[in-house]
């Protein structure tokens, strides 16, 4: 948006300074996740078990808080439930600065303590705070904030850290290699830990039945922090409670794999504090380590509410509390891979799920700052070990931002006329244009080619960029003069009569297929008819995907109702619904669950197929592949022969229909290379927006790297992918169905 030019600038700057390090690390973690979870036989069962435990725990939270109070106190510790950050900090500083008169507190990395900014509170009372996680310590030395919930300093390169240490510590022999840097930090931190008075940790989980906490680290800093100091303060959000110690088990197997691809982290501490180790006295170190007086330890569990109990009452934000902070969603996220958490995050949390956290803890304003970096590509959904629908939370928050920011004084009358919808009047222009793409497309098609010529004209593009934030470097879709539905009717309907047909299918003429990319619709009709399917192409409303992407939930919901109304009779008549645009199929299968009665959603979801999935199914059931177009017959764009480069759509992959195209193409004899990036970066309309143009192109960069010099024929199913790949490779890919459909 033009009013927001600084956002684009900041993103560009972060991509330039931190982008490379973030990309390398997150992609490495993400790849590690695939490999490590792939080695689990029962991955999906573990995820279901983990989710079940969280659902139960959050439902019973008040009861678990009382239980843990009893168990921790029975062990000799203290529990304090803090309402908010100030309350928690008051308790912690009183304990540390006053009661203990501590000079130094050593801290093991904890996002919850970042959330309450306890370091600042302690330092204000004269207590030195030292972060002991190596990455966190680097940031402390550099006076920076974490950019990732698991690996806080991934945006820093080794060279950057070496420079930092050389500058800050001026050592005789400046450390350079990873090994030297690590040993340098280990030594300095070792001394600081030994002399510390209080140790602070977070907790990954706390079991109510025993007061046992689970701490996951690789470095061993949490172990040292707890062992070396006689006072242990654990800071954890109330949502970290689970009923029993046995409940830790699935999380232990999931957390490292999900986050960094480690099967387990080096150390999984299960502490039931005060812990049983003697307190080593490093100041008088000629005394025995274990002097038998092991009872002088003190433990405080500070459970933090800070908005969480309210989130629990909020049907939409509640799922955020299931989050185990593994970071899988961040690592799987195309945008995060490009800009990292310094752009894609709020005061504390970053990445896709940060919207839920920040909205619940800091408020909508903070969440609004980065919420639109979630493009809804959905690649985080299968990555999340507790099955949180993260894009949905982002959509809900976006909707609330839309409504909350709506200024009743601003009438926006002209626009209200052009694109009436269910949303409040104050929505900004680019949101509204994208959200009402269907209306625009209908109008564009009706007035093509004038609309096309207009939309290509420089002054119009400049205006669109300035007023509506649509980047002028993007080619705008060219509207077709004759929509698919009209073409089909003019041709006299299906060439396969219903009586002779193997099956009957309704081809869903989505907005893009109907008004813009009519050719792929025609190809789909030919392919289905070649396999003896009686096809219908009724005039149906848009799926609601564009408004949903803008957080216009009410508009999307009414679209869902209209689509279902239009399809219900077909579904009742036993016809299959075949969908060309993957993001629309993903709507039918996933998001419509939120909009339609359960039975309606189930019926529609069960009857709907991706066009390539459908072709695949027909071939599996005996249809003859030789009725489709094999590579040998290829001329023109397929002249390159059998070799195909295929980019499956992000949402198609999430709902598990990305690979059918590969299978069909291979069955016909094509040699297929599949892109291994999570999302092309266009993600619906995201890449059109002026502020995000460079980011979008950067997210797509791996596709250019993989397919850039290829002599392969590039195919892609999504409309947005098509636009993006055209921009990246200078060549418009075709839909896989266009490759395999017989010629006219």
């Amino acid at each position: 948006m033009s009013s927001d030019a600084t956002k684009g600038d900041r993103i560009r700057e972060l991509m330039a300074t931190e982008g490379d390090a973030v990309a390398e690390n997150t992609r490495g973690f993400n790849q590690g996740r695939y490999e490590s979870t792939g080695r689990l036989d029962d991955y999906e069962e573990l995820k279901a078990e983990a989710r079940g435990i969280k659902e139960d725990a959050i439902a019973r939270l008040p009861e678990l808080i009382e239980e843990v109070r009893r168990t921790v106190e029975a062990n000799g510790g203290t529990v304090y439930v803090a309402d908010d950050a100030a309350d928690a900090n008051r308790y912690i500083t009183e304990l540390t600065a006053e009661e203990r008169d501590a000079d130094r507190l050593v801290k093991s990395k904890s996002m919850t303590s970042e959330e309450i900014e306890v370091n600042e509170a302690l330092e204000a009372e004269g207590v030195e705070v030292v972060e002991t996680d190596l990455g966190e310590w680097v940031l402390q030395v550099a006076d920076e904030a974490p950019s990732h919930i698991v690996a806080p300093a991934i945006h820093k390169s080794r060279e950057g850290i070496a420079e930092l240490f050389a500058e800050r510590f001026d050592p005789d022999d400046p450390p350079e290699t990873a090994e030297e840097l690590t040993m340098f930090a280990r030594e300095r931190l070792g001394e600081l830990i030994e002399d510390a008075d209080v140790g602070m940790t977070g907790a990954n989980f706390v079991a109510a039945d025993s007061g046992t906490m689970l701490l996951v680290t690789s470095e061993g800093n949490a172990r040292k922090t707890v062992t070396a100091t006689d006072t242990h303060v654990a800071v954890a959000g109330v949502e970290k409670l689970v009923p029993t110690v046995e409940d830790f088990s699935p999380f232990v197997e999931l957390i490292g794999r999900s986050g960094t691809g480690q099967d387990v982290t080096s150390y999984i501490s299960t502490l039931t504090p005060p812990v049983g180790s003697p307190v080593p006295d490093f100041e008088h170190d000629d005394g025995p380590l274990a002097d038998g007086s092991g009872d002088d330890r003190d433990f405080h569990l500070v459970l933090i509410d800070n908005g969480r109990m309210e989130m629990r009452e909020d049907e939409q934000l509640k799922e955020t509390l299931y989050c185990i902070r593994c970071s899988a969603c961040s690592n799987a996220c195309g945008n995060f891979q490009s800009v990292g958490g310094h752009a894609f995050g709020g005061e504390t949390y970053s990445g896709g799920i940060a919207t839920g956290w920040e909205a619940g803890i800091e408020g909508l304003d903070v969440a609004a700052e980065f919420n639109d970096l979630c493009t809804g590509c959905s690649r985080c959904v299968p990555a999340c070990p507790v099955g949180i629908d993260i894009p949905w939370i982002n959509t809900v928050v976006r909707d609330r931002i839309n409504r909350g920011e709506a200024d009743p004084g601003q009438t926006d009358w002209m626009f209200e006329e052009l694109v009436p919808d269910e949303e409040p009047g104050g929505l900004d222009l680019s949101t509204r244009i994208v959200g009402n793409y269907e209306t625009l497309a209908k109008w564009g098609s009706r007035t093509a080619p004038i609309a096309n010529r207009l939309s290509d004209a420089g002054p119009v593009r400049a205006l669109a960029e300035r007023v509506a934030g649509i980047d002028r470097r993007r080619d705008l879709p060219e509207f077709a003069g004759e929509p698919l539905v009209d073409w089909f009717e003019a041709r006299g309907g299906s060439r396969v009569s219903a009586d002779e047909a193997e099956r009957e299918a309704v081809l869903y003429a989505d907005t893009a297929t109907n008004y813009v990319d009519v050719d792929r619709g025609k190809a789909a009709v030919r392919a289905l008819e070649a396999l003896d399917v009686h096809v219908r192409v009724p005039d149906l409303p848009g799926s609601g995907r564009p408004p949903l992407s803008q957080g216009m939930i009410a508009t999307a919901e009414s679209a869902a109702e209209d689509v279902y109304a239009g399809l219900a009779t077909h579904v009742d008549a036993g016809r299959d619904v075949v969908v060309i645009e993957p993001s629309d199929l993903a709507m039918f299968r996933s998001e419509y669950e939120k909009f339609l009665p359960e039975a309606s959603h189930e019926r529609l979801a069960a009857a709907s197929y991706d066009v390539m999935e459908y072709v695949f199914g027909l071939l599996e059931n005996g249809a003859d592949p030789s009725d489709l177009r094999a590579p040998a017959e290829g001329t023109g764009p397929v002249a390159a022969g059998k070799r195909v480069a295929y980019h499956p759509h992000c949402q198609a992959r999430t709902i598990g229909v990305g690979e059918h195209a590969t299978a069909v193409m291979e069955a016909l004899g094509y040699d297929v290379r599949v892109s291994d990036t999570e999302c092309c970066g266009m993600a619906g309309s995201f890449g059109y927006k002026h502020d995000y143009y460079e980011l979008s192109m950067d997210v797509g960069e791996p596709i250019r790297e993989q397919f850039g010099d290829t002599d392969r024929t590039v195919v892609a199913a999504g409309t947005s992918c098509t636009e993006q790949i055209d921009a990246l490779l200078g060549d418009t890919p075709m839909h896989p169905v266009e490759l395999v459909a017989p010629r006219e």
Binding site: E159, E179, S218, G220, S249, I268, T272, S277
Partner: protein, 185 residues
């Protein structure tokens, strides 16, 4: 404990860079002696004995100066190559942590197949005895400084002494039934 668990455990340790030696309980002290550097501190074992050169009642200074720490483990988790070390009044936790090499003694009988078994073992002990256990898997590690480095805060190396069950073939020797486990991970 099945043969499969033992070989899974050893294969896992191998892939983590953890060295393993095996023998009957009677050879425990020798196996430790071979594995431990110098100076070494330790905590008295439940099963098997320590070589004399291990300081079992160290001062804090001796702990600080030690190269190796020797402790036993309560449990091993075959599927992950993890060993469960319990914090106790004798100092098992600091002895296993503030050193460069941790030599850990585990009885084969204390090997369980997988994590759910480990947490079923832990649950009652946590509830009834307030135990503190760390499941340690390989050496301390960090990738925060631009590359994987071992020994960030804890030990750089780990060695496991696996004590065989005397019953198995009468001698404690079980190599005959032990499938080859190196280099196939």
């Amino acid at each position: 404990m099945s043969v499969a668990d033992r070989s899974t455990f050893k294969r896992r340790l191998d892939s983590l860079g953890v060295t393993v030696t095996e023998g009957p309980e009677s050879e425990c002290a020798e196996l430790i002696d071979e594995a431990a550097g110098d100076p070494a501190v330790g905590v008295a074992l439940d099963a098997g004995s320590l070589p004399d050169r291990i300081e079992t009642d160290p001062t804090t200074a001796e702990l600080r100066a030690a190269h190796t720490g020797v402790t036993d483990a309560e449990l091993g988790v075959a599927e992950y190559g993890s060993v469960a070390i319990e914090a106790d009044g004798a100092g098992t936790e600091p002895v296993s942590l503030f050193v460069d090499r941790h030599v850990v003694v585990l009885r084969e009988a204390d090997l369980v197949p997988d994590m759910p078994d480990a947490f079923e073992w832990l649950g009652p002990r946590a509830r009834d005895e307030s135990t503190d256990v760390v499941f340690a898997t390989g050496p301390s590690a960090t990738a925060d400084m631009g590359g994987l480095v071992h020994g960030a805060h804890g030990p750089k190396e780990v060695h496991v002494v696996l004590l065989r069950e005397p019953g198995e073939d009468g001698s404690g020797e079980s190599d005959a039934t032990d499938p080859e486990v190196s280099a196939d991970e």
